[in-house]
Amino acid sequence: MAVRNRMRRKETAFFYAFISPWLIGFILLSIGPIIASFFISFTSWNIFQPPTWVGLKNYTTLFQTPLFYTSLDNTLIYALVTTPLGILIGLAVAVLLNQKIVFRNFFRVAFILPSTLPVVAVTMLWSWLLAPAGLFNEVLQLFGIKGPAWFVDPAWMKPGLILFTLWTAGGGFVLFLAGLQGVPDYLYEAAELDGADAFTKFRHITMPMLSPIVLFNLVTGIIGSMQTFTQVYILGSSNSLLMMVVYLFQNAFQNFSMGFASAIAWVLFVIIMLFSLLVFRWSSMWVYYEGEIKR
């Protein structure tokens, strides 16, 4: 009994020793900063002088600042356009690659290439491609279309950003292709016996079987695109592309308004949580899990 107790204690000691790096990091880099951030959002603080408590003032100011609504609009438009379109592109590429084709490996690599490039490189490449006299407009010219000024014209900045975001979305096929190959053949065979055509099979077998992957991409896509920073920062200072994280960055690290910036962070956090919750709620209407117990 004593031996067993000693073994138990030793195992517990080892457990805590092994998780200690994560645990210390959790306290210093996760939960500590979260609590601190919450309190900082109720202060006015430039980090060079002691903070002063201002209550809800940061939040009320934020909700009266037109620039905040600009950043909110841009963030939501960007997330709600690129995420669904990106999923469609990934799915379409997966369906293409799932056909019997020659050089499949070449096509695979080609479609995955844009998504493996660093965001900084992609953004600089496309700001060069979409220059008013750049290659992209030149290609449009071949079809008799006069291309816009893209990142010079405020009205065309968002379409430009969306365009090259979608260029990197093809890589999303990897999960979908694995999903397509995981659909058991007997389902299709059974449907064929019932006289189903290709579209019906896709609509009633393939789509339900892939729906968990769609949900995963939808949630991670919306969360990720709402946190877009690098692309917008590199493309320039114009407010017509301003997004929430960029607005936060400007306030925190250029104006040193730590309290105000923390309030932006919390508003962003709440918006992300709300959207994730909404998507999950809505998903119960269309996601099909094979192993699910129906109530």
């Binding site: 030793k10 900063p33 900082i40 980090i47 490189a121 946190q227 962070a265 956090f269």
Partner: protein
């Protein structure tokens, strides 16, 4: 006999018709594939050709896809005229320790969560998973203030040290993999006199090579392409990592001096190629080990 023959004849016609449709769809399929592959690859090729062209040439209108002369010296210029050699060194100083830190600390925590029994294990595991949902923006400002008060601004520490505290995503992936290693191996090792530490280093780690390689790749990519982190913590151009350094080439200091796009694209290539290389070498392991999310 006669009826059998007629049915086979109609079957034949039907078959030919089907073949016609099949050929039509094949043609459509390949047209769609080729058009989309060209649009995927062309921008990348444009990066390569621009990086090899003369700057005056790069600025001509209309742009020409193939430069008339190849300037491989652009790849020398980025090291002599611009500081890309220094930026490359800085990136390596940050990235290599970051990979080591993540591998060691994440696999330690994962081993504990997968194999060691202790009070509080379940709740700590749930807490760890819930940290996956916290967006970095919420912790960014207090973390900056903490590093600022440690006088770590304009040093590499804020970019390296956080990697020595594990990462919830990595821990989760490794833990899922460890759970699939048979417990009998641990039991046998125990009988042979190995302790908990010995089981981790001698049994678990050697068996989890694909997942460890995957984590090394993810950590490399995240740190190599990190832009916001260096932007926040590093103001001294001598300390820029590559991602920030290449971006700084677009700032010529004057509105009237256009950036040298050929050199910028050469810098872009230098930033991109290591990631492509690492991905290409390691992709097999990535696919193999991301399968663990499907099991439990």
């Amino acid at each position: 006999m006669k009826t059998a023959q007629t049915t086979s004849a109609t079957d034949h016609a039907k078959h030919r018709q089907l073949n016609g449709w099949r050929v039509f769809w094949k043609v459509v399929l390949y047209i769609v594939l080729i058009v989309s592959v060209v649009s995927m690859v062309l921008p990348f090729l444009w990066m390569i050709t621009t990086s090899l062209s003369d700057n005056r040439y790069a600025m001509t209108f209309p742009p020409k896809f193939f430069p008339s002369s190849l300037h491989f010296d652009n790849y020398v210029k980025i090291f002599t005229n611009d500081n890309l050699g220094l930026y490359l060194r800085n990136s390596l100083i940050i990235t290599i320790p970051a990979i080591i830190g993540q591998l060691v600390t994440s696999s330690m925590a994962a081993y504990a969560f997968a194999r060691l029994r202790a009070p509080g294990r379940k709740i700590l595991f749930l807490i760890m998973l819930s940290t996956l949902m916290i967006p970095g923006e919420v912790t960014m400002i207090p973390t900056f203030i903490m590093f600022h008060s440690l006088h770590w601004i304009n040093t590499f520490w804020p970019l390296i040290v956080p990697n020595f505290f594990g990462n919830a995503f990595n821990i989760f992936m490794l833990r899922q993999f460890y759970m699939s290693i048979p417990l009998e191996l641990d039991e046998a090792a125990k009988i042979d006199g190995l302790g908990f530490f010995g089981i981790w280093t001698r049994i678990i780690l050697p068996l989890s090579k694909p997942v460890l390689i995957t984590i090394a790749i993810f950590t490399f990519n995240a740190n190599w392409s990190n832009f916001m982190g260096p932007l926040i913590y590093i103001n001294d151009p001598k300390l820029y990592p590559l991602a920030l350094g290449v971006f700084s080439m677009t700032n010529t200091g004057s509105m009237f001096t256009p950036p040298q796009w050929n050199l910028i694209m050469a810098g872009n290539m230098l930033l991109t190629l290591p990631m492509l290389l690492v991905w290409y070498i390691g992709q097999r392991h990535v696919y193999e080990s991301t399968n663990v999310f499907g099991r439990n």
